[in-house]
Structures are given as C-alpha cells and as structure tokens.
Symmetry: D2
Subunit: 150 residues, 4 copies
C-alpha cells in the first residue's frame, strides 16, 4: 500500500481546510495554486476590509499571507498533521492600494515540528503589479489543534 | 492661544479615524479607551472571522492589535500627523478561543518619525481571561498618507 | 525521591551553561540574577564591541538579551532539556551608548515545546538608566542540541 | 558637475564605515562584495564567539547579517546619510555549525527614510553550504547619528 501522499491528495486536503477558513470567505479569497512548499491565494479589493485611508487594512494583508504561509508549510507535513501559526513578522512596504491582491507563501526550511516560511503580497493597480508586504513566519505541526504553544 | 492638544481632542480625533476603519466595523470592534500612549479595543467572537479550527483567524487578532498600537502611537504624535504601520511581529500564545476579545496597544518609545509599541490580546472564555497574543510594532508619523516607507 | 527542581539547582545549571557560552566572556557579561522565568545579565562597555559610530553593535545587544531570554525560558523547562533560540525580533529604541548595560529576559508563556519571552536592554550613562532595546523571542526545549528546527 | 555617486565611491565609503565597526574585527569579518543594494560579509569560526553547545552564538550571526543589511541599505542612500538599524527579526534555521560563514544583505524596498532588507547567513561545513539563518530588517537613513528612533 502506498504511503506516499500524492500531490492531488495534498491539494484537496488544503482546499478542504481553506474552505473551512470562514475568514477567507469574508475576504473573498481563493486558493489559486498549491505546490510542494508553495501556496498562492488571491483576493479582490473590498471596502469592508479597509483602514482609515481607504487602503486594505494591514491586518487583512497579514491574514491572507499568514494563510498562504501556513498552507505552504502544510504541504510538507505528514498527512495527519494540522498547522498552526507560532509567530509572524510583516513589513509593510507600500499602502495596500489595488484592485486585486495575491499572497504567496513559501517554505524556507521544513522541520519535524517547526517550519519557517517567507511570504509576499502583491497588489495589482492600473495594470501594474508591486510587492506591498513581506512576511517571515514560523509554523508548527500539531496533532492536536488545541495546543498552540505546547 | 493654547497649542496643547487636550485629551478630549485626541480622543475625538482617534474615534473619527477609527470610525473610518471599515474593517473594524466588519470585525465588530469598538474603541473602549484612549489614554496618552495607550488604546484599548474590544470585539466579540464572530464566525465570519474564523480559521479552519473554528478559532479566530490569527490575522484578525493581528489586525485589531495593530489598530490598537497604531492609535496608541497617534496619541503621542502632532495633531496634523497620520499614522501608518511600518512593521509588526506577533507571537500567538494560544488558539484564539473566546466569546470576547480585547486588544491593548501601548507606546514603548515615541520618536519624531518612528514610534515603537507593544500590544497584547486577551480572550475571555468561561469567565476567565487569558493573553493569547503579543505584538511588537513600529509605527510611523506621516504628513502624507501616500508614503508608507518613504 | 523528590522530582522537584530546587531554585539552587536551576541557578547552578544555568550558571554552568552560561559559563560555557564563550561569547559571553568575550562580551564581559555576567549572570546577575536567575529567578523563575526571569534572568538578568550585565556587561560593561567595551570598544571591541562597537559599530561605526562608537556605540555598542546592535548585534551584541541582541546577543546578550537573547541569552537572557533563553535562560529565562530554561528556568521553566525540565531538568534534562536544553534551550535553543527559534527566532527573535529586536527593536532598537536608542543608540547603545552607555558605560554599563543590563539585559532582562522574562517568560511570557511557557509551553511544553515552545516558550515565548520578552526582553529589554537598559543602558547606564551619566547616572541615568534608559531602555535602549526590546526583544520578542521564541525559545525551544530540545533534548538533542543538534535539532534546532526539528 | 556630476551628482551621481559612482560605484567605487559607494564601495569605498562602505569599506571605511565597515573598518570603523570594531566588532567586525572582533568577529574576524571582512567585506567581500558591495553591489547596488547588496552586500556580502564573510567570517571564520572562532571559539570566542560560541554559545553553550559550541556553535556560533545566535547574536553573532544576527550581528553580521545586520551589518550586511545595513550596508546594503546604505548603498542606496544619499552620500551624506548614515544608516542605523531600526529593528530586525531573525529565524535560526539550524545550529550555526561551520568553519566559515557568509552573510548576504539585500534591499527589498528602498525609501527616503526607511529601507527594508532581507538577509541570509550561510555556513560552510564539510564541503557543504547551507542557510542557517534569515533576517527581515528595517534600516533608517539618518543625517545625525544621535537620533535612532527620531
């Protein structure tokens, strides 16, 4: 019996988990690609998600790239593992102005318990694409979703 | 003519800015206190804001404490300044399980251009209160809201 | 047979580990207090440790407060555990000017595998004490010192 | 009269600043390349720089990659500017075991006041090279080296 997880299995496992992230629905985000150690999520501008200057709230930007990093980490974890964010750090390079946004999460180093990821967020505005935020994050493989720092 | 900004003026300026943060409405957050260098925001659990395990999404937690830190910084900036987040780092201490949440942002060091803040997020569950996340953040005073890293 | 670790045992275990940190000798640092979840280290200004403006190099500041945070975490780990830094984030509040420095590491949340710490560094100059840097860090309990992210 | 700074001028300005970083001498570090927005520093293992398990202290790793990031930022600043680290975040991917180390700092986004950099540190051991740490950092252009967060 094959123990190896096929790519299709990983993708469908991540799609199912993503579909349970109700906040991603609130944001209007969709999973656009799942590769080994890399996940891309896209979403449109929505006025419900803005801060005081009319740009996307930095926390929304952080939320989507955190999800992208978490799922990138999950692609390299055992099939029975769940993923939780231990910590993340975001640098906001430009105001989050755009009609569409794309968050890319990549695994930098996968370990048995901890996986370190890098993420970036692109904004699409007036036919141009620019990086508006970068993330450096630590993800944790958990068997029991109740124990984050455990 | 007094040049000093009264507390009431600061509070009303921050309340007005907070009211323009449409994402805070989406979260159901309200500004509960504004002091010199300290701001508290509270919000209820909402299923629209959850991740795959039914807890609040880490990005939502980050978003509200980022707002609390940003406004804490703004209390110590000149009246004509706006505030933008340069970067923030969040450690997630426990899953964000609770019926109500409270984010507290505090100024640690206020400078002319940059202000460093510390934040924490409390969850209220079954009559108990616990700290679920901490933030360390850099905020920037801007005269022109178009120039984040400028 | 008592399983409880006494304070004296913890202190002597941490002092022994600190004495093996050759870099702390290079810095001239000494362990001045070890409490449950809190460790303080002090060191003098040394010109060998400076950056281009004659202040202490930010990396030296980070190194000592990282050691203080790591040992603070170790006070709350089982006797057979070693501690390794998973990640840390430092905000530099002021140039590191002073004749003496003090780093304080405190446990914010201790878990079975990961412990989150906060640290601060004080500089003493002209009879005045000020906080020059703060740290937010994640420490890991390891049984095998070869596996950092594992 | 040409206002443009030539590459040779930038390199010699950075070499001069690096030579004033006494801590880099203590580490045994040398500047091996300076390009537009990218700086590489190398250094050998030295037992004076170790932590309790005989690996390089994480703070030394942070110090050198902080210098690499700072100088990378300086390559894109005006000739009269100095650079100071506002904050940095390091993820330690593996124990710092090696005979030689190399830190590479790169500018991700250069602004008028703030520049965001990414860094990585490679260790060379037994003919193999691996990334042992990554950094995400914010650097600030200052005209007056006394005002870090100002």
């Amino acid at each position: 019996m094959p123990e190896e997880t096929t790519n299709a299995e990983i993708t469908s496992r991540i799609q199912a988990s993503f579909d349970r992230q109700v906040f991603m629905k609130t944001v209007g985000a969709r999973l656009v690609s799942v590769g080994s150690g890399q996940v891309t999520i896209e979403w449109p501008f929505r006025s419900e998600l803005t801060q005081q200057h009319g740009f996307l709230h930095a926390g929304v930007v952080a939320a989507v790239v955190d999800s992208a990093c978490g799922y990138a980490a999950l692609t390299m974890m055992p099939p029975d593992a769940a993923v939780l964010s231990v910590e993340f750090k975001v640098n906001l390079l430009k105001p989050a102005a755009g009609t569409h946004f794309r968050a890319i999460g990549k695994v930098i180093r996968a370990g048995r318990t901890l996986t370190v990821c890098g993420g970036e967020v692109h904004a699409h505005l007036d036919g141009k694409d620019s990086v508006i935020a970068i993330m450096q994050a630590t993800m944790m493989a958990v068997r029991d979703s109740n124990g984050l720092v455990d």
